[in-house]
Amino acid sequence: MQPIISVRQLSKTYASGFHALKQIDLEIRQGEIFALLGPNGAGKTTLISIICGIVNPSEGNVLADGHDVVRDYRAARAKIGLVPQELTTDAFETVWNTVSFSRGLFGKGPNPAHIEKVLKELSLWNKKDSKILTLSGGMKRRVMIAKALSHEPQILFLDEPTAGVDVELRRDMWAMVRSLRATGVTIILTTHYIEEAEEMADRIGVINKGELILVEDKAELMNKLGRKQLTLHLQSPLAGIPEALAGYPLELSADGKALVYTFDAQGEHTGIDVLLRRLGEAGIDFKDLQTRQSSLEDIFVSLVRERA
């Protein structure tokens, strides 16, 4: 299937000389939720801004639904909705007017029924005649989403949608993103909350220092890089790792009361059985044990650190 967005050899150097993006190649599939992860200043927002037409690329090109975002900007941009990171709204306008304005701006004729639907879905309906400056931060975020959805885009960019948003709104937003995806909208989100990507995304891209260092199905990524840890809580503290266990990737906690064994969950032999037998032979008793799958967050941190 033809990708809905294809980014080819995209580079951006700002006037200051800062190299924000280095030859990015990326394809977004129709109807997926794609999470773009990366530390601050990695280039996430620059990438989104180029696709949406706010920043001019230095090199390379981007196709949105087959339309070049620079040469054929009208067709490309009409399909895209953007919710930027900053809460920038027209403080003195009413919710209804600002959302209707966005629809017109994107070339669509008035459709009060659609605006009503969007506002209701975002729990903004009873605020429709309120001026935006009277709304809370979370409500303003919803207004920005409503503006982005006002022209029925096929592609939605959410740049840090849940930054500074309370738990309830975050849950609402996740539900909204899922229901949008169910209607065929492709969603690209950037986030700092790895839990969010883990919860939502079909695929994950990691960007660091302007380079796309990884693009992978979330499940595969978790499997491939997912390490498991076995923690054994010992009956009596150890001063050091016994010699009999020297060959194992073991770590002893600072208080000597726990041994941590890291293994590959995908491997044929996890080695747990042998380890436990050795422990018994060495006379080390434990009172409890637990295993833990490393989270996307651990994977992310190790990836970024590896390349730093």
């Binding site: 900007y73 067709a75 930027p84 306008e93 304005f101 701006l105 994107f106």
Partner: protein, 253 residues
Amino acid sequence: MNIHAIRAIYRFEMSRTRRTLLQSVVSPVISTSLYFVVFGAAIGSRMTAINGVSYGAFIVPGLIMLSLLTQSISNASFGIYFPKFVGTIYEILSAPVSSIEIVAGYVGAAASKSIILGLIILATARLFVSFQIEHPLWMLAFLVLTALTFSLFGFIIGIWADNFEKLQLVPLLVVTPLTFLGGSFYSIHMLPPFWQKVTLFNPVVYLISGFRWSFYGASDVGVEISMGMTLVFLALCLAIVWCIFRTGYRLKA
């Protein structure tokens, strides 16, 4: 052509006028009335008629032009500066609109506002002095072209300005002096010969002269020259705006 976008921007800007009715419309009307009281009634009563026109009536076109120029610039510059300042410009830049449509929306709204204002001032002036308009079509043409030209100029200032001071700088330091020295309150024939020559370098002279001609049939410079100069300024502003959008100057990184 994205007509919906032009209409959306235009309506958005006009609703800003309605929200700020007091400062957009009422305050220029009040200040113009003050000019009439001071220059028209108090001082004007001691002045002799110029070209057979009473002084009170003589300053009407100049006063309308004064408001038209300052209001066109401030409306248009603020209209585009504010979204840049608060960041909502992202939406305009990411929308499927061409530069022509953006300019049509913003400049069209700013020009409409100042044309409406000019007509209100004209009506207000009628309460103070009696005057006739000999060439109403020329009058409207000068009104519309000047409003458009200076709204474009304001749009350029709004894009160039990166703080509120710069937004005020050009109107205060350049446009207001040029307007006062451009014959709003006097005929340039009243100046010494040397200053008559110097004043011809002031573009506003041509606007006021042409506009006054449309009222009273008498002018400082020929009406064709006035109209020609007005069109030259319009073309100049259009060219600068075209350059701004081509290069993304102060709009895009």
